[in-house]
Amino acid sequence: MKPKVGFFDFTGCEGCQLTVLNLERELLDLVELMEIVEFREISSDQGEALDIAFVEGSICSSAEIRRLKAIRARSRQLFALGACADTTGINALCTDRTSEQLVGEVYGTAVGHLRYRHPRPLEAFVKVDGRVPGCPIDGREFLAILQSLLIDRMPELPTYAVCAECKLLELPCTFERGVVCLGPLTRAGCDAHCIAEGDRCRGCRGQVDAPRSGPYYRILEEHGLSEEDILNELRIFNLSGEKRG
């Protein structure tokens, strides 16, 4: 029997689900191997038991917590799909204000009934079996993870940094052109996509398991970054970061 797979979204831009839908060439093959029973972007909610749930977005309200818990309860495996679900991603940028301030700034004072909580990753509320990191996710990596799951094998994320992946692709280091890059701290798996396209790494995939932040901050300081600059670098996707080592 084909495994039943569902896709769910919470607070986020739905770009990760779109990345899945953009895998046009592979999507039809995938449908042969699994049964997509839920995917709001293409179908409606059925409420049945699932083998794998891919959940996108951060959790921002009590209603979202309830819905997430219900998905967890009927899913054998639950995977965080993308940075918002995995680490809160860019949503965490708002945590420098209170939820009242945020609601006020966006909706004004007239809309008093809105109950808003600071965004949290799925892991804050339910057990997460695995994750597809990135903002947005990498389509190739999603396919590799799905392939593992379909043969009943737990997928493994790379334990090394984007920096190593970048070197293996022989991309000139961004520091050579005076541009700071989070590649040395960030988990690989994206084929250094941003650097290959002439940009730099901003850390959307989250950090490696044991980032050597202390020595890295010293390199950044050598490049003229202040403590606040360094925090700003990490704030984009790695807000919680860690204390200076």
Binding site: L171, P172, E176
Partner: protein, 250 residues
């Protein structure tokens, strides 16, 4: 014939000739002072005065990813060993990288031999290129005495005033010289120029670190518990790139 000469004006023809026979790989500029070995079809694409490439040529001898075995799950796990291989000419390899490849050769030809490596190596033609001067201020080739050719190539080019002195080391190299029809016999003047180059290199290349070559193993052994390693370790980002970019590590 163990030596030959090629005029500088014919070097472009040589690269074109090689490219017409198969895949040629040489040092190409990436901008920002960086280089990599990549496929080329003409001399103009290459920068022969390159500094060490981001990855050393070991990527052609032992790729980061390679298929070692194929099997069909329905076939009782009967594995078929495979080698992914293509004819390749590596053009313009400096003596530092040649030394690295020779180290790899030792490890993989040591018994039991690694057939995957040995077969791939046999499909690679190595054309070395001598450095007349330091490539940059970070080189330490003289300390390890690798600023001079020590074998490990099929052909080795040393730059003279208007040509290249070519040392022919292997039958494969000799065939290439003959088939291209671009080489000429070595003249006494060319021999004298090569001697002059080596004399001048003796002045330029001095051990970059004030230690004796033969002391290096002992120094590493005796300083195993030195604070210097702790201090270097404190700078380490644990990225693993030292292994990736090392000409011999894997």
């Amino acid at each position: 014939m163990t030596q030959a000469l090629i005029a500088k004006t014919k070097l472009a023809d040589l690269v074109s000739f090689l490219a017409s026979c198969g895949k040629v790989v040489g040092p190409v500029p990436l901008g920002h002072g960086q280089f990599k070995f990549a496929e080329v079809s003409s001399l103009a694409e290459m920068a022969l005065d390159y500094i060490p490439t981001i990855l050393p040529p070991k990527k052609y001898f032992m790729p980061q990813y390679e298929t070692l075995l194929r099997y069909d799950g329905a076939d009782g796990q009967q594995m078929q060993a495979v080698v992914e291989v293509e004819e390749l000419v590596l053009f313009g390899v400096h003596t530092c990288d040649l030394a690295g490849i020779q180290c790899l050769n030792v490890v993989f030809s040591d018994r039991p031999r690694d057939l995957h490596y040995m077969i791939r190596k046999n499909h690679i033609t190595l054309i070395g290129l001598e450095c007349s001067d330091y490539c940059d201020g970070f080189a330490s080739c003289a300390m390890l005495r690798n600023h001079l050719p020590k074998g490990g190539y099929d052909l080795f080019f040393s730059e003279l005033s208007d040509g290249y002195f070519v040392d022919i080391k292997t039958h494969k190299g000799e065939q290439l010289v003959e088939e291209s029809g671009l080489f000429e016999p070595v003249s006494d003047a060319a021999r004298e120029q090569l001697q002059e180059l080596r004399r001048s290199k003796k002045q330029i290349f001095r051990s970059e670190v004030p230690i004796r070559y033969q002391d290096i193993p002992r120094l590493f052994d005796e300083t195993f518990d030195s604070d210097v390693w702790t201090r270097i370790g404190e700078k380490c980002l644990s990225c693993g790139n030292c292994t990736n970019v090392c000409p011999t590590c894997y």
